[in-house]
Symmetry: C2
Subunit: 211 residues, 2 copies
């Protein structure tokens, strides 16, 4: 990577269940040390194996309500009575330092981020390669009832129905190929003029201050 200072970006990965999003996220975090997973705040109790500030920022409902009032979240949602939200401050600190932040979120979170983040956002949607493959991946256990699978399919279709709200679409036919696609997107987005904030000064030096 060049020595030109740059602003980090927010990489959003969304997909229906089983399309490979988690695998791709994990691989990306392994190979690229400049990318960190976004850490959410939540009001749900910490589980034994979880680490505060790593898995989540565990906060009280009062604290969460206060943060909401201060508009301190990039996006937030309530799931099964627990509140979840992405605090703005650590994300902004990372972006300012030229680090990229990965978000593994659904279409609703992405819609909220699209309101609050705009130019920093790179939205990637991952699609399974075929209907047959999607169905196969949703039948995770042989004993799943028809209803359970139908419910998963409805949820997958709901997620897929928002594909056109994303900037890039990766068809995951082959995980290695999908991985390469994701790295290309990240590499290209880092080369976007607006993100290379150090170029203004670099060009001044390059042209001897003439432009």
């Amino acid at each position: 990577m060049s020595a030109i200072a740059r602003r980090g970006l927010m990489l959003v990965l969304s997909s229906p269940s089983g399309a490979g999003k988690s695998t791709l996220s994990r691989k990306l975090l392994q190979v690229d040390s400049n990318v960190a997973m976004s850490v959410s705040a939540t009001t749900r109790p910490k589980r034994r194996n979880e680490v505060d500030g790593q898995d989540y920022f565990f906060v009280s409902p009062e604290k969460f309500a206060g943060m909401l009032r201060e508009d301190a979240f990039l996006e937030h949602a309530t799931v099964f009575g627990n509140q979840y939200g992405t605090p703005k401050a650590p994300v902004e600190a990372a972006l300012s330092a030229g680090r990229d932040v990965l978000f593994d979120i659904d279409w609703q979170g992405t819609q909220q981020l699209s309101q609050s983040a705009k130019d920093d956002l790179v939205r990637v949607f991952i699609l399974p390669p075929s209907k047959l493959e999607l169905e196969r991946r949703l039948h995770t256990r042989a004993e799943d009832s028809e209803e359970v699978v139908a419910g998963r399919m409805a949820k997958a279709n709901d997620e897929i129905s928002h594909w056109a709200e994303y900037d890039y679409i990766i068809l995951n036919e082959d995980i290695d190929q999908a991985e390469k696609h994701l790295y290309s997107i990240l590499a290209a987005e880092r080369l976007k003029r607006q993100r290379q904030t150090g170029l203004v000064d670099f060009v001044k030096i390059l042209t001897g201050g003439l432009i």
Copy 2:
């Protein structure tokens, strides 16, 4: 590459003289058979070693004037009394067939293309890595006079002054790295949702027509 039908893109490369644009163009055309160089129409006489329809479309001044009247050019310019222009029709035919078209043009051509092409355009500007290196590359021959070099430098600075009109900036410190950057940009841009025109039908089949 996936089997999803896509619309091609127009890849514009600009740079000051000696920044590596020609080398990058040539390598890209060698490694990626889906990319073809744009062919301009010109009123200048054909040289012995040139092939009509390959190096240029050689046309009469009357023919060129007629094409201008019909708004048949994406961009055009007059250089040393000869007219040059990029005909729209072959570019549109390539894009519709999912092929990408490479343009090795300056900031003026890019500005014109930006008016006529918009969403199909991917504009890449290549910068030399330092002032010293830029100067070194502009001193192509030992016998060049101060004036000749100063003239080249002024031309280079004029070109560089338009760097902020491009979508991506590649700093060419190392030609192999610059090449990789260019391929990443191309790979990523091909994954843009709007270019993958076949996705609309694919998603219908994927969801069994439910969305």
